[in-house]
């Protein structure tokens, strides 16, 4: 049953920029010893935030699940329950869709001027800015990501994204187009209607912004299903959005699991558009359900096995730091993680030595503690999956350079792990691990590395490290991926489109391209009588 398969897969993925000066960051943290906070894992810092919202947000009101059921939300530092959240099923989705439908068909949202929509989004961004501390704390508590990362990087990016989309709302232009004969032809860009959006747990707030921002700017209404691992921050910001003046029914948030809440949303006959971020396997199910129901158009941001390619003319120290960041950032839970580190043979030994040393210096611990670089994995399932892949790496005779084990006995902490001598046919070089496991591979020349980098079913992103302009230019066109970062990685500006080639997805989010996901194109043709020109 397709719905059953959704259960463990329905939510995940995607990263966001941070640490654009890794060298500086490294310096700040270098005085902390490796795993120095492991002890703190036993004495967890209490987050400075209350959990105020645990119900569904439907038609502008917080309501219990139709069934009355709840499910637990956990603290991945300890595996303990921090809240019980309304558990959505088909009936809650029906209610949410009908509210969104009404808000779209009859409500003020698509009928108000784009400028008014834009003002509401700007007010919302201001409110989020004011509540940054609580939101970052809640994000870390429920997700396990470093608090400093959430507060200093992700919250400002969230605000930035809403400013960006607010600025688009009043600049969505159709075209007037030339006719072959005497016709006046206009192209209207209309909101598509009710958008169903399913977001993952790795960047709960940023994925909210990527999805909700453009959909609202274009005048759509939304039913959003959050990941069951991370339902809390979306409810908090959705409440702020209403405080900013969003009319009821425009954004409805339903918490719950993939098979029971995600699947009915995807298959709903009254949802006009579906956007999903998560695993490739679930993405296939989503596309299939959309096809079987009402042929709603689908945007998919799926998995990746992104190459990070270091040429022999690169600055090795910088490349090591960035490759480390590209993989380990956010506990390795990024769909665009640089999980295949290809290093030119001439610098391979030096690179490997330094990459290993860097991984061993990585500070893992309570993500609320200052200076901690890596918190726990999201949940027990992911935690065990990552450990299984580490075993697979060892069994396939990759060399385990460091790490490879869990840390402590509580929570889902895993040692930063580096494998060398990784071969293309090993499972750890083919599958998306979604954890702190770096695989280092050796290459000889550019033709070889292009071929190997492209030999994957994924095509999300790639990093290229070189000083040579010709190499950079060739690589940027040869790699079959949606984003190429040259001498940088994980740069996620609001205006940069993001999305995958091949089985990494369909469509692009962020940038002007994201608007296409939420607009219908309507051509309007009428005859012209005696025009002065055509």
């Amino acid at each position: 049953m397709a719905a059953r398969r959704l259960s463990s897969l329905v939510s995940r993925s995607l990263a966001s920029s941070l640490l654009q000066s890794p060298g500086r960051t490294c310096g700040r943290w270098s005085n902390l010893s490796r795993f120095s906070t492991a002890a703190a894992v036993q004495e967890l810092i209490t987050p400075q935030v209350q959990i105020s919202y645990t119900q569904h947000l439907i038609n502008g009101k917080f309501v219990d699940a139709a069934s009355g059921k709840t499910f637990p939300a956990y603290d991945p530092r300890s595996g303990e329950v921090i809240a019980y959240v309304a558990e959505g099923d088909a009936e809650d989705i029906n209610r949410a869709v009908s509210a969104a439908r009404k808000a779209f068909d009859e409500g003020p949202w698509p009928k108000m001027t784009a400028y008014e929509r834009s003002r509401i989004l700007l007010r919302f961004a201001d409110l989020v800015e004011k509540h940054s501390n609580e939101l970052a704390a809640l994000e870390t508590w429920n997700n396990g990501k470093p608090f400093e990362q959430a507060l200093m990087s992700e919250l400002p990016m969230f605000v930035r994204l809403f400013h960006y989309y607010a600025g688009w709302a009043d600049k969505i232009h159709g075209l007037t187009v030339p006719g072959d004969g005497n016709y006046h032809i206009q192209v209207l860009h209309e909101p598509i209607g009710v958008a169903g959006q399913i977001i993952p747990w790795n960047f709960p707030l940023l994925m909210f912004a990527w999805k909700v921002g453009p959909a609202l700017a274009c005048g759509n209404t939304i039913v959003l299903k959050t990941a069951e691992q991370t339902p809390l921050t979306a409810l908090y910001v959705a409440q702020l959005l209403h405080e900013a003046g969003l009319p009821p029914g425009v954004l409805n948030v339903v918490s719950g699991y993939g098979p029971t809440a995600g699947a009915p949303l995807v298959a709903h006959m009254d949802v006009d558009k579906l956007a999903f971020t998560g695993s490739t396997e679930t993405g296939k199910v989503v596309l299939e359900l959309a096809a079987r129901s009402n042929l709603k158009p689908v945007t998919l941001e799926l998995g990746g096995k992104s190459p990070f390619i270091v040429f022999d003319d690169a600055d090795v120290d910088k490349a090591v730091e960035l490759a480390h960041f590209a993989l380990f950032f956010n506990q390795g839970q990024c769909c665009c993680a640089g999980s295949r580190t290809f290093v030119h043979e001439r610098i391979y030994d030096e690179f490997l030595e330094k990459a290993k040393a860097r991984a061993m210096r990585r500070i893992v611990g309570d993500p609320f503690k200052k200076g901690v670089e890596q918190g726990p994995q999201i949940d027990v399932e992911q935690f065990e999956k990552v450990l299984r892949y580490i075993r697979s790496g060892k069994e396939s005779n990759a060399t385990l350079e460091c790490g490879g084990a869990r840390i402590g006995s509580k929570g889902f902490f895993i040692e930063p792990t580096v494998f060398s001598n990784v071969k293309d046919d090993m499972l750890i070089a083919q599958d998306e691990i979604f954890g702190p496991v770096q695989s280092i591979l050796k290459f000889k020349d550019i033709d070889e590395v292009i071929k190997r980098a492209n030999e994957t079913r994924y095509g999300l992103a790639a990093g290229v490290f070189t000083k040579n302009g010709d190499t950079a230019n060739r690589m940027m066109r040869a790699l079959k991926v949606g984003t190429v970062w040259i001498n940088c990685f994980d740069v996620f500006d609001a205006a940069i489109p993001f999305g995958g080639y091949k089985m990494s997805g369909i469509g692009r989010e962020k940038g002007i391209y994201s608007l296409n996901n939420y607009l219908q194109v309507k051509a309007v043709v009428s005859p012209l009588k005696n025009p002065a020109w055509i």
Partner: protein, 494 residues
């Protein structure tokens, strides 16, 4: 302190030049008087910029562009600062509106709407600052090529007196969003709100030197801006005659780029199928709004013969009921003309109209003996070779005439040196479409008039100028296109 009609008074806070983030006296120490057109009294003495002041303003702008943070910060950061400026403007709506009303004789009720609308325009361009896209190009050879849209540099803006706030911001906002620095010369009649805006710009965090405001006269300060060797672009709004001089000065100095938003003699064409009440109201507003001191004023009204008589009757009734008086009074629809010179010029055109044999249906005289008030004036039987049908009068004077066919209306509408705007009133979609394409003007309003919006580009055909204000188009006035080309080896696609 200047007094308002309601007994209140307003403190004029800013009367000096704004250069490099400071309010300073002019080098010469000279000042000029800005006049209240309701009375002809002096409101304030304002520092008068001469060439030396323009030089120091340009130097500040140059430095801010070449070495300052403004073009070097991200569009998003510039946008945040512009947003903050907009919020500050919203907090001072009444005070700024009063300055414009006093300085320009504009309706206070209107100015209280105009000021928030300029804040909105700033927000529009704040949201545009991070959406300036170059392109990656197709090449015939094995090259990789792309364009960069770079800020053009130091911009000179010369602004007229009829919409001191709106026209300040439709120039300043897109050029700031693009990353330029600038020297703004407001009109000598209306320098006050521009200086207030400069003060708020500094509070909002616009770095020193990015925005400089130098009040003064066209022949002295304006001319120094136009012929300055270190200004990269001049953006002028004003009369067609001055526009020619601006362009000549640009040509003779450093060939700086020029954009001009000039005069108009815009037609409103009303067809037989129009609702006469609505159409006569639209035509009336078309010429009387802002005392006719509008470059897009609908100063030639063409009405189809089937409804002409009824139209004329209703139009005259409405014009007679139009209330002229102190623009601070809420029931008043029309204040005084901006100054003595304009006032006299308009009256002389009215005399011309009478002498040339047009029929004066209503108005035609000054009102009272103080200030610069003129009656709403309508001439009928206007022939195309009459001066009142050809020249931009810039006052409450309509030239009304009758037409038979659409083809005739199109031909007569286009029989002008100008091409700024046009109005069409009809229920017929074919007429609307055909006339829209046939009239050689930059803005066509169908069944509406005076609709200016931030996202709608505006600018003239023919002697009405070139270059567009408003919309994303306006950004391109302040951007240079740079193409970057490099060979590419072994590319998998071309």
């Amino acid at each position: 302190m200047a007094s308002l009609s309601n007994g209140h008074s307003i403190d004029i806070k800013f009367t000096k030049l704004f250069i490099n983030g400071q309010f300073v006296d002019s080098v010469s120490g000279k000042t000029f008087e800005t006049i209240d057109p309701r009375t002809g009294d002096v409101i304030a003495s304002v520092a008068e910029a001469t060439k030396e002041d323009v030089d120091s303003a340009v130097q500040a702008a140059r430095h801010a562009f070449d070495s300052g943070p403004w073009p070097r910060m991200s569009g998003a950061e510039r946008g945040r600062i512009l947003m903050k400026w907009a919020d500050l403007i919203d907090q001072h709506t009444e005070e700024i509106a009063a300055l414009d009303t006093m300085d320009a004789g504009k309706l206070f009720q209107y100015c209280k709407m105009e000021v928030p609308s300029v804040a909105n325009m700033l927000r529009y361009y704040a949201g545009a600052a991070d959406k300036i896209h170059g392109e990656v190009l197709k090449t015939a050879g094995k090259f990789h090529a792309y364009t960069l849209l770079e800020p053009i540099g130091v911009v000179g803006h010369i602004i007229p007196w009829n919409f001191p706030s709106t026209l300040f911001f439709n120039k300043v906002s897109p050029s700031l969003a693009a990353g330029c620095t600038m020297v703004v010369k407001p009109a000598e009649q209306t320098p006050l709100s521009a200086l207030f805006y400069a003060h708020l710009a500094k509070l909002a965090g616009i770095p020193d030197g990015v925005l400089n405001v130098v009040p003064g006269f066209g022949k002295i300060a304006g001319s120094a801006v136009c012929s300055h060797m270190d200004i990269d672009k001049i953006s002028f709004t004003g009369s067609t005659q001055t526009g020619r001089e601006v362009m000549q000065a640009a040509a003779k100095s450093n060939l700086k780029q020029v954009s001009l938003e000039l005069g108009g003699k815009s037609p409103i064409i009303i067809f037989d199928d129009a609702d006469v009440d609505t159409a006569s109201q639209l035509a009336l507003i078309g010429i009387l709004f802002n005392k006719g001191e509008v470059c897009v004023a609908g100063s030639r009204v063409f009405v189809q013969e089937g409804i002409y008589d009824e139209f004329e009757k209703k139009l005259v009734e409405k014009a007679k009921a139009w209330v002229v008086g102190d623009p601070f009074e809420p029931n008043v629809q029309q204040g005084p003309q901006v100054d003595k010179r304009q006032f006299e010029k308009i009256l002389s055109y009215i005399e011309h109209g009478k002498r040339e044999g047009a029929t004066l249906l209503t108005g035609g005289k000054a009102i009272g003996n103080k200030g610069y008030y003129i009656e709403p004036t309508i001439f009928a039987n206007v022939k195309e070779d009459m001066l009142i049908a050809k020249d931009e009068i810039f006052g409450p004077v309509m030239a009304l005439s009758k037409f038979k066919t659409m083809e005739e209306a199109i031909e007569r509408a286009n029989n002008t040196t100008y091409g700024l705007a046009a109005g069409i009133v009809t229920k017929n979609i074919d007429i609307a479409n055909t006339v829209s394409r046939s009239v050689r003007a930059g803005m066509i309003w169908v069944n509406c008039y005076f609709i200016f919006e931030h996202d709608i580009p505006f600018g003239g055909y023919k002697a009405s100028g070139f270059g567009k204000d408003y919309g994303m188009e306006a950004l391109h006035k302040y951007l240079q296109v740079k193409s970057v080309v490099t060979p590419i080896y072994n590319s998998p696609w071309h």
